[in-house]
C-alpha cells in the first residue's frame, strides 16, 4: 500500500525533524510536535469555515438582489487573499525585517527560523492565512449593496497583502507593539479592528445606499432578505471561533486551550444574552438581528484577552460588548455611515473595547487585579495606533480606487441590484419571477 509506505517514510521525517538519532522512532518530543501540528491545522480549518459564516451573515442581512455579489466578494477575499498572502503578505507580517514590517520570506521561501516554531511553517502559514482573509472579509459587509466589484477586488488585495500584515507585524511578528508587551492573543485588534476600521473608511468613502437616509436626516430601515441564513452564519462563526481563539495557542500540548475555549464560549453567551435584554428594554421586543450581532460582539470582544482573563472576566467582557454593539450600531447609523451588517460596530468598536478590557481584566497585569496602569496604557496605544494606521491607509486606498477604477456602481445599477449588473446573475430566479425561464429561447450562436 502506497499510503502506508508514505506514513512510514514520514515517521522518518518526523524523527529527523525532532533531531532524534534513531530512524522510525517516535518520541515524546516528536509526538508533541505532531499534537501541536494537528491542533493548529484543525483550528485553521475551523477558521476557514468562518468564511462561510461571514458570507451567510452578510447575504442574510442584505437584499436578495445582491446575494450573488456578496458570495463573489467573500469567495474572492479568501481566494485572491490566499494567493497574495502567500506571495507577500506573510513575509511582510512574519519575515525578518524591522519594527515596522517584515521584509523576507516571500512565497514562503524560508527564513522563518527566528519564529522558533516547533510546528511546520506550512501549518503556521495556513493558520495565519485564514486569519488574514477574515480581516479582509469583514469589510465586505459594510460596503455591501453598492460597491463596484472590480474596485472591491483591488481593495481586497491591498488589505491582505499590505495593510493587515503591517499591523500583524507590529503585534505578532516582532514589531514595536509586541515589544511594548501589548496583549492581543487572538486578534481583537490585529484582525477584527483592522477589518472594522477599514470598513469604516470604506463606508464613508462610498457613501450610503440610495434611500437609506432622507433629506430631513431621518433613517430608513432596509431589512436583510433572509434572517435564517444570517442566523446560520452566526452559528458557523461561533463554531469557527473555537478554532480562532484556542488555535491561537499554536500548541495542543498547551492545556490552556481548554480554558480559552471556555472564556470564548462564556463571552459569546453573555454577549448574545445582554444584547437580547438591552434590545428588549430599548425596543420593547427581543430583537433578532441585534441578538445575533450581540453574540458576535461577545466573540470579538473576548478575542484579545481570551487566554488572560478569568471566566468572570470573560462574562463581563462579553456582556459589555453585547450592550455596546447595540448603541454602536445606532450611533453609526445616526452619523449616516451606512453599514448594512454592523461590521464597524461589531468588529471595529467591540474589537477596540475588547483589547482595552484586557488592560482592566487581565489576571496578570490588569488594573482591576492590581496590575496598575502599565498594561492598560500599552493596550490603548495599540488600539489607537492600529486605528490610525488602518483608517488612514484604507481611506487613501479607497479614494485612489475611486479615482482610478471607480468604487461605486451607478445609481441605476444599485437599484437594479449588483447580481444582475455586476454578474449577469439572479440568485433566486424561481422566487423573483418563477416563470420567466420558460420564455428564454437561445438560438445557437
Amino acid at each position: 500500500m502506497r499510503r502506508n509506505l508514505f506514513v512510514l517514510s514520514l515517521v522518518v521525517m518526523v524523527v529527523a525533524f525532532s533531531s532524534t538519532a534513531f530512524a522510525a522512532e517516535v518520541t515524546a518530543e516528536s509526538n508533541a510536535v505532531a499534537i501541536n501540528t494537528i491542533w493548529v491545522l484543525l483550528a485553521a480549518f475551523l477558521v476557514f469555515f468562518m468564511q462561510a459564516g461571514f458570507a451567510m451573515v452578510e447575504a442574510g442581512f442584505t437584499r436578495a438582489k445582491n446575494a450573488g455579489n456578496i458570495i463573489m466578494k467573500n469567495l474572492m477575499d479568501f481566494s485572491v487573499g490566499s494567493l497574495i498572502y502567500w506571495a507577500v503578505g506573510f513575509a511582510f507580517m512574519f519575515g525578518t525585517g524591522n519594527q515596522f514590517i517584515g521584509l523576507e520570506g516571500f512565497f514562503l521561501s524560508g527564513g522563518f527560523e527566528h519564529l522558533g516554531l516547533d510546528i511546520p511553517i506550512s501549518a503556521f502559514w495556513i493558520f495565519q492565512a485564514v486569519f488574514a482573509a477574515t480581516a479582509a472579509t469583514i469589510v465586505s459587509g459594510a460596503m455591501a449593496e453598492r460597491t463596484k466589484y472590480s474596485g472591491y477586488l483591488a481593495y481586497s488585495i491591498v488589505i491582505t497583502g499590505f495593510i493587515y500584515p503591517v499591523v500583524g507585524h507590529w503585534i505578532w511578528g516582532g514589531g514595536w507593539l509586541e515589544g511594548m508587551g501589548m496583549i492581543d492573543f487572538a486578534g481583537s485588534t490585529v484582525v477584527h479592528s483592522v477589518g472594522g476600521w477599514a470598513a469604516l473608511a470604506g463606508a464613508i468613502v462610498l457613501g450610503p445606499r440610495i434611500g437609506k437616509y432622507n433629506e430631513d436626516g431621518s433613517i430608513n430601515a432596509m431589512p436583510g432578505h433572509n434572517l435564517l441564513m444570517a442566523a446560520l452564519g452566526v452559528f458557523i462563526l461561533w463554531f469557527g471561533w473555537f478554532g480562532f481563539n484556542p488555535g491561537s495557542s499554536l500548541a495542543g500540548i498547551d492545556l490552556s486551550i481548554a480554558e480559552i475555549a471556555v472564556t470564548t464560549n462564556l463571552a459569546a453567551a453573555a454577549g448574545a444574552t445582554l444584547a437580547m435584554i438591552v434590545s428588549w428594554i430599548k425596543y420593547g421586543n427581543a430583537d433578532v438581528s441585534m441578538t445575533l450581532n450581540g453574540a458576535l460582539a461577545g466573540l470579538v470582544g473576548i478575542t484579545a484577552g481570551t487566554a488572560d482573563v478569568s471566566n468572570v472576566g470573560a462574562v463581563i467582557i462579553g456582556a459589555l460588548a453585547g450592550m455596546i454593539v447595540i448603541y454602536a450600531v445606532e450611533l453609526i447609523d445616526q452619523l449616516h455611515v451606512d453599514d448594512p451588517v454592523g461590521a464597524i460596530a461589531v468588529h471595529g468598536i467591540c474589537g477596540a473595547f475588547g483589547t482595552l478590557a484586557v488592560g482592566f481584566l487581565a489576571v496578570e497585569g490588569g488594573l482591576l487585579y492590581g496590575g496598575g496602569f502599565d498594561l492598560l496604557v500599552v493596550q490603548a496605544i495599540g488600539v489607537i495606533s492600529v486605528a490610525v494606521w488602518t483608517y488612514t491607509t484604507a481611506y487613501i486606498l479607497f479614494e485612489v480606487i475611486d479615482a482610478v477604477i471607480g468604487l461605486r456602481v451607478s445609481p441605476e445599477e444599485e437599484k437594479t441590484g449588483l447580481d444582475l449588473t455586476e454578474h449577469d446573475s439572479i440568485s433566486y430566479p424561481d422566487f423573483v419571477s418563477p416563470h420567466w425561464k420558460t420564455v428564454e429561447v437561445n438560438k445557437k450562436e
Partner: protein, 112 residues
C-alpha cells in the same frame, strides 16, 4: 355575467371557501396582493430604526358568476370576511362581456 372581486384578510380564506362551496360556487382565482387604506401600518424595528410598513398583505379573490347570483355572493363575503376592525377589505363588481372555457370552448354562463 359579473366578476366579483374581493380584497380580504389572508386568514379568512378558508372560511370564505367553505361559504362559497355552500353557495354552489365552484371556481375562483386568488392573487396575493399588498394594499393600504384606512388601516394603519404596523411599526417595526430593524437594527434600531423604527419604520412603518404601510402596505398590508391581502388576498384578492376573483369569482366570475351569473348576474342573478351576485347578490347572495356579496352577502356571503360580507358576512364571512367582516371582523369589524379597520382593514376588512372591499368588494368590487365588474361587468364581463364574455367568458370562454378553454377546455370545451363553451361560452357565457356555461363557461364558469
Amino acid at each position: 355575467m359579473k366578476k366579483v372581486e374581493c380584497i380580504v384578510r389572508p386568514e379568512k380564506l378558508e372560511e370564505l371557501i367553505q361559504g362559497f362551496e355552500e353557495l354552489g360556487i365552484n371556481g375562483l382565482n386568488i392573487t396575493q396582493i399588498t394594499g393600504y387604506g384606512e388601516q394603519k401600518g404596523a411599526t417595526k424595528i430593524y437594527r434600531g430604526v423604527k419604520y412603518e410598513v404601510k402596505l398590508k398583505e391581502k388576498l384578492k379573490i376573483e369569482i366570475v358568476i351569473s348576474d342573478d347570483k351576485v347578490e347572495e355572493l356579496i352577502d356571503t363575503i360580507v358576512k364571512t370576511a367582516r371582523t369589524g376592525e379597520v382593514g376588512d377589505g372591499k368588494i368590487f363588481i365588474y361587468d364581463i362581456e364574455e367568458a370562454i372555457k378553454i377546455r370545451t370552448g363553451e361560452t357565457g354562463q356555461d363557461a364558469v
